[in-house]
């Protein structure tokens, strides 16, 4: 009996590596600690009613952001481990298998479980406030999306300690990712982790399109929307066209592995190239999905801190939409070297270059927003200004890569690695950081410490260039991606050391940010009013943090940058119309179903990974039961009475 248990445990848990053992112990300890703290302070009920069941977009946004910061930590540790391994030739710090797992999880986590949730977090917090709405279109679905993401991410991460991590690369090309190449469970964790969270992303895409198109405050026509809202719209449109492809692709890979089908296998007439096409039909739009909102954030910030209207609004809108459209016609540039023939390569090279045009136009528009402005440089603006040169250079190397015949020399090399890190860190991460610093007071009612933020900023920036500029050079020296070791005579070591140093500088930068948050919480200083940056858009017209219902009265929008214009009119002493009387506010009720249903998804996924039908079937039935339970629930909303709104407003705004 005991032997059987032992045997099972050694299959179930990943064993044998001190590094992993250490992680397992620390994870177990932190779980115990969390449970203890929650029990000791009697916080379980609070956690359940205030957070786990919340359908409030602001709270969901905060949960997204917390999860993404945790994932940034894990993905970052992965990155540093890789950099350590590459710091010297023939190093035996990580074994090949372990290294392969780490670069796989690094890629998946950073794109799908760090960038995506950080993006969704900002969507959630900002979009309803910017358009003068009280929540998103489907608050219940929104909560479900979050928990699906969360449990999908957990399912993926659990493979680190249970069953084994995936190790076939972040896009898991078959036949390597088939049963023949990856017989372990890691690949199944990969499929189900991404699948479950991907469904959540799809739902978020739908949710925000409806929110933006149907819930804007009266008067806010499409062409008066803040640019961030436009960017969210373009990103969400891209999501609903791209994510179903991912769902199908992973599903087919799952059927291959689980039922022995032959979609992408070598034998039985399968076609691995089809997978590569399909995954990039999602994968390429995916990078635009994450970068477009960053463009929106920069547009807001650059205008706010130049104290000037955004230059070329219409151009910007057109650029966003055309990027979103063309992103679907460039996927084959990820495999120019697959022998598709000159005409196919030429076509995809041209479409790729085409995207550079609207992107370039955006840069000019940001520059000319600053031109003849009054620039101030608090942290959000610093990130924005740092973004421009970084993204311009990254964009340029992107254009170089799009030159198909030249790509035969760049492909799969560190040149490519440097390029996409430059646009993803310099574009996406810098953008979301800028957004986080900008909207942090709106989320929590206090500012982050500027001094520490500047330290973090400089470490991030210097670290970034020190880390990735050498990688361009390494690519030209013939160093290919995903190698876990290299020979002494290649001459790759000096630049690799430099790059590793850069990686650790960014690690230090992250620590500064954590310190910054901790410090700012400890020395909590509430912002004086809801408009601490002298902002331009509606979210700054309400208190920070925003009350549950956001707007006591739905604003009547007259122009682009409406709040700025309102302030101008006030300063000019123009009479304002008397405020409309308050009315009861219609709000969605909290619900535990999203959380429970996502737990069921987790159980289903976990059961399928292990091929335990006794576990998968109850999980599946649980999902169905939750769906039905929701369908039969009619009591989904309530009204906040006028006197309560009055009381809240009086407390938040003082005498006003």
């Amino acid at each position: 009996m005991l032997d059987k248990i032992k045997e099972f445990a050694s299959e179930f848990f990943v064993t044998g590596d001190p590094l992993i053992l250490g992680a397992q112990v620390s994870i177990a300890l932190s779980v115990v600690a969390i449970v203890f703290v929650l029990t000791f302070f009697k916080k379980w009920r609070w956690l359940w009613t205030e957070w786990l069941t919340s359908v409030d977009h602001k709270k969901i946004g905060i949960m997204y952001i917390i999860a993404s910061i945790l994932m940034l930590f894990r993905g970052g540790v992965d990155a540093l481990l890789m950099r350590l391994q590459l710091a010297a030739p023939q190093l035996e710090f990580l074994e090949a298998e372990h290294y392969n797992q780490i670069f796989t999880t690094h890629g998946v986590i950073m794109i799908l479980f760090m960038a995506m949730p950080l993006m969704f977090g900002l969507f959630n917090i900002v979009v309803p406030l910017m358009i003068g709405a009280r929540d998103v279109a489907f608050p219940f679905l929104n909560s479900l999306s979050f928990w699906m993401f969360f449990f999908g991410a957990m399912l993926f991460n659990v493979s680190f300690i249970i069953g084994g991590s995936p190790d076939a690369g972040w896009l898991a090309y078959p036949p390597l990712s088939e049963l023949s190449g990856s017989p372990g469970l890691g690949q199944d964790f990969y499929i189900w982790g991404i699948q479950i969270s991907g469904i959540g992303s799809l739902a978020t895409g739908i949710n925000f399109i409806v929110t933006i198109l149907k819930m804007r405050a009266p008067g806010m026509t499409l062409m008066k929307m803040p640019m961030f809202v436009w960017s969210v719209l373009s990103s969400c449109i891209t999501i609903i066209f791209a994510f179903p492809i991912l769902t199908v692709t992973l599903f087919l890979l799952f059927i291959d592995r689980y039922l022995g089908a032959h979609f992408f296998t070598l034998d039985g007439g399968g076609n691995p190239m089809m997978y590569i096409n399909l995954i990039w039909m999602w994968g390429h739009p995916e990078v635009y999905i994450v970068i477009l909102p960053a463009f929106g954030i920069f547009s807001e910030i650059v205008s706010a801190f130049s104290k000037k209207k955004l230059f070329g609004y219409k151009s910007m809108v057109f650029a966003l939409m055309s990027i979103s459209f063309f992103s679907f016609f460039t996927w084959a540039h990820h495999f120019f070297t697959m022998g598709s023939g000159a005409n196919v390569n030429a076509f995809f090279a041209l479409t790729t270059m085409l995207i550079a045009i609207p992107t370039g136009v955006k840069v000019f528009n940001w520059l000319f927003t600053m031109y003849r402005g009054r620039l101030s440089f608090p942290t959000p603006m610093m990130w924005t200004v740092a973004f421009i040169p970084c993204f311009v250079i990254g964009g340029m190397t992107g254009v170089l890569l799009s030159v198909a015949p030249a790509d035969f020399q760049f492909h799969n090399s560190y040149f490519l690695i440097a390029h996409f890190h430059q646009v993803l860190i310099g574009g996406v991460v810098f953008g979301y950081f800028a957004g986080l610093y900008y909207w942090w007071p709106k989320m929590f009612g206090f500012k982050l410490h500027e001094g520490l933020g500047k330290w973090a900023f400089w470490f991030w920036n210097i670290g970034f260039y020190v880390c990735f500029m050498p990688q361009y050079a390494l690519g030209l020296m013939g160093m290919t991606r995903r190698v876990n070791t290299y020979d002494f005579d290649m001459g790759w070591q000096p630049l690799n050391v430099v790059s590793t140093v850069g990686g650790f500088l960014m690690g230090i930068a992250f620590l500064f940010q954590i310190w910054q948050i901790a410090h700012s919480i400890k020395f909590f200083k509430k912002v004086d009013n809801g408009d601490n940056w002298d902002g331009r858009t509606l979210e700054w017209s309400i208190p920070s943090p925003a009350p549950l219902y956001n707007f006591a009265r739905i604003p009547q929008v007259q122009s682009q940058d409406d709040w700025w214009e309102t302030k101008q009119r006030r300063a000019a002493g123009e009479p304002e119309p008397a405020p409309a009387p308050l009315e009861p506010i219609h709000m969605p009720k909290n619900s535990g179903i999203p959380f429970i249903m996502s737990v069921c998804w987790f159980v289903l996924g976990f059961g399928l990974v292990w091929d335990w039908l006794w576990m998968a079937i109850p999980g599946f039935l649980g999902v169905v039961a939750c769906l039905l339970a929701r369908s039969f629930t009619y009591d989904t909303d309530y009204y906040i009475p006028v006197d309560e709104v009055e009381r809240t407003e009086a407390a938040l705004r003082g005498s006003k």
Binding site: S315, L367, F408
Partner: protein, 326 residues
């Protein structure tokens, strides 16, 4: 001031990165020794210059604007908070990228056709053929005309075009000799052609550029380009001294693992075609290959044991299904 410094950082670092390594021979992509690599290098430089035409002014403009319009006491810079549109300016910056991209696109299309990997290199000399197979985790090279084979080692005569035919035994890889020219995927179930040529004698680094599993990093090989006489002498020497590659020997090579350089005086006839067509009509040829592809590593950890059990299961399942199918 600070933004300005940061503006310069990327440029400085780029310069540093280049100068640090002496711009020398280590940049093998920029130091080609064959016509294909040479054209690709030209193209890289040309496209870089075209891009720089736009990028450098933008970077300078950024620095100037950020510096000039920063908010400070007594700033004399203009402030026009509502200036948000200028058709003239916007036409300019839609126009400039469009012009550059058209130029670049023209060049790209031309080169894409010229450098299509399967296009023979013009030469008076007849091309030699080398059949390349990526295995887990080594490269097998076969010289069908000379009837010799090598592992992780290639010798070619200088100034003679080489027709590489690429395939893979299992997962996809990518065959890359940076100093001769760009890479091409090696994929199982098909043979793709890549023409390369060395214009100079020398020893060149080659690698598998596409991740294909555990010991992917060990899939490097050396390409020696010599005079034709030396090449012919080497072929003779291999024929005389090296062992033959038998079918069993090949099966052994397909087992997962790394390898040093190996030479073979002959190889089974039609082996390359066999590798390419091994997955066709699986039903009739039987799944004998599975075992080789799936037998596992020697670390013997618990997960591996589990994996093995799993894959055995899967095999059984598959056979079961096939059986049902008949």
């Amino acid at each position: 001031m600070r933004p300005f410094i940061r503006m310069l950082t990327p440029v400085l670092l780029l310069l540093m990165a280049v100068t640090l390594s002496g711009c020398g021979e280590q940049f093998i992509v920029l130091d080609p020794k064959g016509p294909i690599g040479e054209s690709q290098k030209d193209l890289i430089y040309l496209s870089t210059i075209l891009c720089a035409v736009i990028i450098v002014p933008v970077l300078i403009l950024t620095a100037i604007i950020v510096w000039r319009y920063r908010d400070k006491k007594g700033s004399t810079a203009k402030y026009r908070p509502n200036w948000e549109h200028s058709t003239k300016l916007e036409i300019i910056w839609w126009g400039i990228p469009i012009v550059i991209i058209i130029a670049l696109a023209t060049v790209t299309v031309k080169y894409t056709h010229a450098l299509e990997p399967s296009k023979p290199i013009a030469s008076e000399k007849e091309a030699i053929t080398i059949q390349v197979t990526s295995l887990d985790w080594k490269w097998l090279f076969k010289y069908p005309d000379e009837n010799i084979a090598t592992v992780n080692y290639v010798k070619i005569p200088e100034d003679v075009p080489v027709r590489f035919q690429l395939t893979s035994d299992t997962a996809m890889n990518s065959f890359w000799i940076p100093q001769l020219g760009g890479q091409l995927y090696s994929m199982s179930g098909m043979a793709m052609t890549l023409f390369l040529q060395a214009d100079e004698q020398g020893s060149y680094f080659g690698s598998g550029a596409n991740f294909n599993g555990k010991d992917f990093a060990q899939m490097t090989f050396t390409v020696d380009a010599t005079t034709e006489q030396d090449y012919n002498a080497w072929v003779q020497e291999v024929k005389n001294s090296a062992p033959a590659l038998t079918m069993e020997g090949f099966e052994k090579l397909t087992e997962p693992g790394t390898s040093d350089k190996q030479l073979f005086s002959s190889f089974p006839e039609g082996l390359f075609d066999k590798i390419v067509t091994q997955y066709v009509e699986e039903g009739s040829s039987g799944g004998h290959h599975h075992g080789a592809a799936e037998s596992e590593s020697d670390t013997g950890s618990a997960t591996d044991a589990k994996n093995e059990a799993e894959s055995d299961n899967a095999d059984a399942n598959q056979e079961h299904m096939n059986h049902e199918g008949h």
